[in-house]
């Protein structure tokens, strides 16, 4: 009876795993077939107004890059604070809040930024999009930094203190250096996580058909344009959406794999 139950549970979990993987494979295969058939090198040379994706890719990367510039330092410093300096309830509160923030629905973050930035500034902008993405990024970076720092043995901190170094010097010279690879990987994965987001951008940056570097205006976004294009009736638009999805997926995949590659080799 026990053996039977064991086999049953094993079979059930294998089946569940297979179902999950099958759907993932299905998505990827469809994406690759439809994406590659619509893919053309000219997509990188033209803007959306001329049937290309150049402005969207540049725009998406710029929004994500600015979000990283805001989110990574804030998240890292907060993570260092709760692991190295924060004590008791206050640090625990920040840690819990950050855990909750990680799973906050991204559309809610978009709506929040819409209310506090887009409305007061009188319109959507690349900046608003970046801020929305950085809000998503901060808790991820806090959690990674926190957990990577927790892996640094306390003896290493004590050894630094025992040589006469002050606490902040030990943290900067020794602790962060020890956790560097882990933190970098975490940051890269956080970037991969936000670069493909749509919901936070939907009513913050919106998107634009033209090439732009002016982040105070509505800003071209690959993900939001995929959403728009997929809703168009013409086949050409939907093909473009497939190609864009394909490029986006490859981008995220490459960043993810790079992150994992670094951890495997150095971690």
């Amino acid at each position: 009876m026990r053996l039977l139950l064991n086999k049953f549970i094993l079979g059930l979990s294998t089946l569940s795993a297979l179902i999950g993987l099958a759907f993932l494979g299905w998505i990827l295969i469809t994406l690759f077939i439809k994406g590659i058939s619509s893919f053309h090198f000219n997509l990188f040379l033209n803007d959306l107004i001329n049937g290309g994706l150049r402005n969207l890719i540049v725009g998406q990367l710029m929004i994500a890059a600015l979000a990283s510039v805001i989110g990574i330092p804030l998240g890292m410093v907060a993570g260092i604070y709760i692991r190295e300096y924060g004590r008791g309830k206050y640090a625990e509160l920040i840690r819990n809040l950050s855990d909750i923030m990680v799973s906050a629905p991204s559309i809610v973050i978009g709506a929040f930024v819409y209310a506090v930035i887009v409305v007061p500034t009188g319109g959507t902008s690349g900046f608003a999009g970046s801020i929305a993405l950085s809000i998503m990024m901060i808790p991820i970076v806090i959690n990674t930094t926190d957990s990577m720092l927790s892996l640094v043995p306390k003896e290493l901190r004590e050894a630094g203190i025992a040589l006469g170094a002050s606490k902040y010097k030990v943290i900067i010279d020794i602790v962060i250096k020890s956790a560097k690879v882990g933190i970098m990987t975490g940051v890269l994965l956080a970037f991969a996580r936000i670069v493909g987001e749509t919901a936070p951008l939907l009513f913050t940056s919106e998107t634009s058909n033209y090439f732009s570097l002016d982040m105070t205006e509505s800003f071209p976004s690959l993900t939001v344009s995929i959403y728009d294009l997929a809703n168009e009736p013409e086949k050409a638009s939907r093909d473009l959406a497939w190609a864009a999805s394909f490029i986006l997926t490859v981008m995220v995949l490459v960043i993810n794999l790079t992150g994992r590659f670094i951890t495997r080799n150095k971690g």
Partner: protein
Amino acid sequence: MIMNIKKFSFTYPGAPAPSLQNINLPIEKNKITALIGPSGCGKSTLLRAMNRIHDLYPGNLYDGEIELLNSETNTMENILDIKKENEFIELRQKVGMIFQKPTPFPMSIFDNVAYGLKIAGIKDKSELAEKVETALKGSALWGEVKDRLNESAMGLSGGQQQRLCIARAVAVKPDLLLFDEPTSALDPISTGAIEELLVELKKDISIAIVTHNMQQASRISDYTAFMYLGDLVEFDKTETIFLNPNQKQTEDYITGRFG
């Protein structure tokens, strides 16, 4: 005498009772003083009070006095009075510490040894190089690492890493070095090398060592303190402790009847 511990008691944050009670212990100059006793007797706690590394975690209660010799004025100063950050830094430059597990920093071999020197304010490159070389020679590591000073210290073996940590601590010329079971994570050959090194080091530096290994204490130390349940049971010359102890408890522990 380099350090004199008088009526010292210590309580960890939130603990209902003190972990150390009424400890009186002199640490003699240019001698090795061993602290022995069963696990949980407080020997590491006592050692960690001698450079106040406990203060990394707030809320400890100190009572009594730990006097450290100020070699410039030749007077004894109570290190439990220290409150300011720069005084702590000074204290730890005078009283170094080596841990159970080797703790190389994630940087080159050279930078590891130079770390304490740089903190002490030495910037001149040739002076740094000279002091690093002296420290590595003094720790019997120079021959093994002189061709790879710029390589990461993480690539060294456990025994080499521990000698590197000793070199790093010796480089800043401390008056007193505290060793917290420095060989318990090492193989017998590395242990032998470190023991020889300690005996060599005591010419310049006073040493206090916590050890679980009674043979080690009898081999290298000049004085031995036996501790049990937070009390210092007996302190004397190592020969006396091992051959002719005063207290029955000491004898029982030395002969392996408990602990």
